[in-house]
Symmetry: C2
Subunit: 209 residues, 2 copies
Amino acid sequence: MTDPHSFLDAPEGTREEIMRATYLALCEHGYAGLTIDRIGEEFPKSKSLVYHHYEGKDDLLLDFLDFVVDRFEAEVPLEDADGPRERLDAVLDHVLATPLPQGRREYLSAMVELRAQAAHDEAYREQFTRHDRFFTDRLVHLIERGIEAGDFREVDAEGVAAGLVATFNGAMTMRVTTAEDPVPTLRPALEAALHEYLLTPGASRGQAR
Amino acid sequence: MTDPHSFLDAPEGTREEIMRATYLALCEHGYAGLTIDRIGEEFPKSKSLVYHHYEGKDDLLLDFLDFVVDRFEAEVPLEDADGPRERLDAVLDHVLATPLPQGRREYLSAMVELRAQAAHDEAYREQFTRHDRFFTDRLVHLIERGIEAGDFREVDAEGVAAGLVATFNGAMTMRVTTAEDPVPTLRPALEAALHEYLLTPGASRGQAR
């Protein structure tokens, strides 16, 4: 998942303030150490407001995931000025940014822990299905536009998009669960293979290698 | 991680019996629901033996991960009769088997939960570093042999291997944390891109597309 940073600086209304408090408490304490009380400590208003809105930690975290996916949907533009190739490079730049941007390690760690809940909890699984589906659909759209524009070859857009989302999910997980960051190693090879497979022959392809 | 299946049928000695019991209890109860007591229930000898050998659940699980990685190392052959390309296809066949082989969903779910511990626990992180490092090294070796044999182009073996391990980790995680299995969608595209990028031009390449 990308970082839901903008609401952190200027939360609007009680829900965004609760979401901000959840985000901060999750990054600080992780899933296991998280309690509604600790979320309340990051909340500028009365803690009782948090208890009023949510039945418990998982209820709040599921709403948090919902909020994150909604923001993700709102933040990824459907249309843009740049071409499909520049757009794809921008996705790689964002998702595989090296070194990890400030605060992202804590956020990714929290997301890895939340995703692990989805291994045995249907409600969490629904949220991560929605997230991965959304991310895949955006990439499908991007690849299809590249094919239409003649920049990309006629590949199976759904398959390439699903492969990219798996690679991104795996890389982001490995960054926070192993002592070695695989991204600086894998990124040049991923880009080279992607350009080789995706780009139509011509000037831009030669440039990409 | 691959499935450590063979010790399940014929465990040898007390440690393998404990590992077998851990595996079964982990698949049944998940990380959160796991207790030494529940592991003891799957153990054919006295429960006190398990308590004698391990200080607690995490101590036992870390030894289990150590055991799994050791087995993984022992099971993946360094040299083999097939060529590098057939060997790579065999890795894909195993890791991305569709549908999920019997029992693998439970095993992958447990591994996703154990990996999530690595987001905040150094000892778990060490085990997953060792696992990913080992898997990457095996693939590097395989790719380098393919380059030497003239079957593969002169790619960055370390980069391609790291990208594959990330893709495998992401795909295996998504299979058990989302309602949609991405593997049937992504696998043909991954194979096509990999063959396009990796295989040297010639008969075998044309055959692969």
